[in-house]
């Protein structure tokens, strides 16, 4: 590269003016978008009064950038020409010839204008030789080396500063992350507390009569020891002979030949209330909070159900089928039989659980989602067992209105027939 390719230089000079100022089109790349633009220059040589033909001394990424550079170079050249004519009185001094910006074929190997790296360097050297001659002439005419015209011969190339940044950057400083990056929706809410706050609470005990002259002797049998309920499946199950809560004996009023509906209700409900208390007590020893929470929820529903059942028994009247059945269900088997008839054959193991966890009913989404709809189904879409399950859920989850109570009394009566 340091050995000047003199032949190339001479050939280029001698062919000046004979060359067209655009690259010939190459057929095999027609239609392909142009990626590199350039313009040809025929530089006027003051020493030979000829032109040097240069096709490989500039290169641009866009037509617009090429046009801008070409116009700027033309303006600088015109300043030189004007100076030479005015200051040096050289009226023969010729301006450079600039071709239009077009697709650069010097990079296309199939083009006759293709330039190797060596040829390209030779072109640059030739251009610098010519500029050097022009500079010499300008300095000879007493222009200073830092004058605009002289400096304009070799303007500093302008590069976007971002192209010239350091090759190895330090890491950017850590920034405080935007709060938007931490949406609470990323997180889960705990399920172990969601049902408890809305769990119903019901205390289902009667008043005592204080109208008599003697302190009232309420005829409720002393509560038997609560039946043990196993805390979890790993604990020993309750023996089959374990006593269920003893039913309260309702003292018959002297004037009433048969128990009232209230007494009938109390006979059944109080025992069942005790049963659910036992379940709750047993669940207290459990460690699995999720199961414990479900047991509590189930017990709350049961308490709600018992409260509603009491209202139904009372509303049905002492002679109703429901009151009669409730009153006469003394033994555990009788009570569970009544439960099965009311709430389905699957219910007894959950109603009188051997383990506390058994009180949890397995989900039955078809029925549980809208139990009233199931109960009111007049067709055969739902089975009798499904309707009994619906009765349980309705009584466990809602507080029926008076109209609903009337309707439910009929439903219950049908179930007990």
């Amino acid at each position: 590269m340091r050995s000047t390719p003199l032949l190339v230089l001479l050939a280029a000079v001698s062919s000046a003016l004979a060359q067209p100022l655009t690259c010939p089109q190459v057929t095999n790349i027609s239609g392909r978008p142009c990626e590199v633009y350039h313009f040809h220059v025929q530089m006027y040589r003051p020493d030979t009064r000829g032109f040097a033909d240069l096709i490989g001394i500039n290169r641009f990424a866009s037509q617009a950038a090429c046009d801008r550079a070409r116009e700027a170079q033309m303006a600088r050249n015109l300043a030189v020409v004007e100076t030479m004519k005015r200051v040096a009185n050289d009226q023969q001094y010729q301006p450079d010839h600039f071709g239009p910006c077009h697709c650069d074929m010097t990079v296309e190997k199939t083009s006759p204008n293709f330039l190797t790296d060596l040829q390209r360097v030779a072109q640059v050297r030739l251009a610098e030789e010519v500029r050097g001659r022009v500079r010499e002439r300008l300095l000879d005419r007493d222009l200073t080396s830092d004058s605009d015209v002289v400096r304009g011969l070799n303007p500093a190339p302008g590069f976007n500063a971002l192209l010239g940044g350091p090759r190895l950057l330090p890491l950017p400083p850590a920034q405080v992350a935007a709060a938007a990056a931490y949406s609470p929706d990323d997180l889960k809410a705990t399920k172990s507390v969601e049902n408890l706050s809305t769990a119903p609470s019901s205390i289902d005990l009667p008043l005592v009569d204080v109208s008599s002259s003697e302190p009232v002797a309420v005829a409720v049998a002393p509560p038997s020891a609560p039946a043990p309920v196993a805390a979890d499946v790993t604990a020993a199950p309750v023996p089959a002979s374990a006593p269920a809560p003893a039913p309260a004996e309702v003292k018959a009023e002297q004037s009433a030949p048969m128990p009232t509906a209230e007494e009938s209700a109390d006979a059944f409900i109080s025992v069942e209330t005790q049963r659910i208390q036992n379940v709750l007590t047993a669940s207290g020893t459990m460690t699995d909070e999720a199961v414990k929470s479900k047991i509590l929820q189930s017990c709350m529903q049961r308490i709600q159900l018992l409260s509603n059942l009491r209202t139904l028994i009372q509303g049905s009247g002492a002679r109703s089928r429901l009151a009669t059945e409730a009153r006469s269900a003394h033994a555990e088997t009788e009570r569970l039989a009544l439960v099965a008839r009311l709430f389905g054959r699957d219910m007894p193991p959950h109603w009188a659980p051997k383990d506390a966890a058994d009180v949890i009913l397995p989900p039955m989404p078809d029925v549980d989602s809208d139990p009233e709809k199931v109960l009111r189904d007049s067709g055969n879409r739902f089975s009798g067992q499904q309707k009994r399950r619906a009765l349980y859920m309705l009584l466990a989850q809602t507080q029926p209105t008076e109209d609903q109570q009337l309707w439910l009394s009929t439903v219950v009566d049908t179930f007990l027939q």
Binding site: M1, R2, A61, E128, R135, R137, L187, V193, S201, Q277
Partner: protein, 547 residues
């Protein structure tokens, strides 16, 4: 203390007296009880209670009234008052007729107390989640994590607390703990769909963990690179010679220093440059991949106007319409173009012998407005063994300057470099020919850290092959008054290579070693005129290790 037994006796006596007293018979009493009962039947428990209060005022501490009041208070949710009434009953009528119902009511109150306790516990537990979510939303990840850890301690089987811990760990960038917590969540969660929903997340985290052990990031564009990559193939920033002592010679650590001293040809001291540190700790640790680090880099670039397609940088633009486009090939960046400015930078590369890293064969680079073209040659171990640089010095006299560096390695460490440079000037200036040579030597300490880099200009020769022409002869005469054609110039080391003037400013071609940045960050400088020697010395904290 002494009067307490007396009080007990008095109370007991009073109770006995009351038990013995005649039953309530007044009409007012009967009336209040009757009305209370009616209100009770109507489920108006508050009104019923008011009536019993009246009855109690007439005939105090009647057992039935005490029980009924306790029941009504309990139904009204006033459990502690109900308990007081029951306590009163039990005190006065330990074997009263209402005892069975009292016992049941006591059970109810016990249950309600348990329920209240549970509710309070639940409330406290739920509060942990509420506070955790709030802290998380504020980006206070440490305190948020503590909330969910406390929750897990209270209820170890609640999957939500464990899941939230995993999320916070993930945000903190501790993927190992996040993965472990997600696995635990899967153990606890009973819902199969929810359990499966974190599978993909765990896979992603495990993949990230793998990358964190085996990859670094490009500090310019943030691309993940295998440890051992030389350059980033998508922006050609680098080099990332993470195991090179030379590239680990300027850690940002207490006790680490790098000082470059330069000397003139006559051995006069020129100046000291304290070189700034580059990375915190070793290069590999500083650049080790993490999603947060990658994001930090990408965010910094995006803020500057750079844009990406996925992980790959694509270009830059500003509001004035200036633009830089990265022309990405299938594997590497092939070209950088600026449609607005017109610049074009070309690159060529091949895959290294390990099949992992991309090595530059050719690059165009711009340093302080000067464009260079560099070509590299590598050995089988992917070491740069030769680098050829060509540039036209636009800051001097537009000479086309060639430089070639040959590097020598021993035991995988660079030990020496020989750089030759020079050019042939133009006919009008007297066809000057310039050659120079630089030698660089690297010294390492026992810990394998670079201890010293020494540079010496071993030759700088210039000779004019012809007389400069016309006015240029006069210009050259001012620069080199003793110049003789076809004779080596004297004192070149002292004066440096000068070639022209711009007013009072002397133009020349300093020995410009900046394109040789890839070998070392410490001697990539343009030597000032007259400077012929440079020495960089390093200190490190004892604990600092390169590898």
């Amino acid at each position: 203390m002494k009067i307490r037994p007396l009080l007990v006796l008095l109370i007991a006596g009073s109770a006995l007296a009351q038990q013995a007293s005649p039953p309530p018979s007044s009409e007012e009493f009967q009336r209040a009880v009757f009305i209370a009962r009616k209100f009770f039947d109507m489920k108006d428990y508050a009104a019923a209670y008011e009536q019993f209060v009246k009855a109690d005022a007439i005939q105090a501490d009647q057992p039935g009234v005490l029980y009924d009041m306790a029941l009504l208070l309990a139904k009204g949710g006033r459990y502690s008052e109900a308990q007081t009434k029951l306590d009163r009953y039990n005190q006065l009528y330990p074997a009263g007729a209402e005892k069975p119902l009292v016992t049941k009511l006591q059970f109810e109150l016990d249950f309600q107390r348990e329920l209240q306790k549970r509710r309070q516990e639940d409330q406290d537990y739920g509060e942990l989640f509420t506070r955790g979510r709030f802290l998380y939303s504020r980006g206070e990840l440490g305190p948020a994590l503590k909330m969910f850890q406390d929750a897990e301690q209270k209820r170890p089987t609640d999957s939500a607390a464990v899941y939230n811990e995993a999320i916070v760990y993930e945000k903190l960038g501790d993927f190992e703990k996040a993965t472990q917590r997600f696995h635990r969540y899967q153990e606890l969660e009973s819902d199969a769909a929810l359990k499966a929903s974190v599978d993909q997340r765990i896979l992603g985290l495990e993949s990230e963990l793998s990358d964190m052990h085996s990859k670094i990031v490009c500090s310019f564009c943030g691309l993940r690179l295998p440890i051992g990559a030389a350059w980033c193939p998508r922006c050609w920033h680098g080099p990332y010679f993470t195991s090179s002592p030379l590239w680990n010679s300027r850690p940002c650590l207490e006790g680490a220093t790098a000082t470059r001293a330069t000397y003139y040809a006559d051995n006069r001291f020129a100046k000291n440059d304290v070189l700034p540190c580059i990375f915190d700790g070793s290069m590999v640790d500083a650049l080790r991949y993490s999603p947060a680090k990658q994001k930090r880099i990408q965010d910094a670039r995006k803020a500057e106007g750079w844009w990406y397609n996925g992980e790959i940088i694509q270009g830059w633009r500003d509001k004035q319409g200036n633009e830089i486009r990265y022309v990405q090939g299938p594997d590497v960046l092939e070209k950088i173009v600026s449609p607005s400015g017109g610049e074009i930078l070309l690159f060529a590369a091949h895959r290294g012998s390990d099949g992992n890293a991309w090595l530059l064969d050719r690059e165009d680079l711009v340093i302080d407005g000067q464009k260079y073209t560099s070509r590299y040659t590598f050995d089988a171990a992917n070491h740069i063994v030769q680098q050829q640089v060509e540039y036209q010095n636009a800051a001097g006299c537009n000479h086309i300057i060639d430089m070639t560096a040959d590097y020598v390695y021993q035991n995988d460490l660079p030990t020496a470099a020989r750089i030759k440079g020079g050019y042939d000037g133009y006919a009008v200036e007297g066809s000057p020919h310039v050659e120079w040579q630089v030698a660089i030597a690297y010294t390492y300490d026992n810990a394998g850290r670079v201890a010293k880099e020494d540079l010496a200009v071993t030759a700088l020769n210039k000779m004019y092959n012809a007389k400069p022409q016309g006015a240029i002869r006069e210009e050259m005469g001012r620069i080199y008054p003793a110049m003789r054609v076809r004779r080596p110039m004297e004192n070149m080391m002292r004066t440096g290579d000068l070639c022209g003037t711009a007013g009072n400013l002397l133009l020349g071609n300093p020995i410009d070693l900046r394109p040789f940045y890839a070998l070392s960050p410490n001697l990539g400088v343009a030597l000032a005129y007259g400077v012929s020697r440079a020495s960089v010395t390093f200190t490190y904290p004892d604990s600092f290790k390169v590898r």
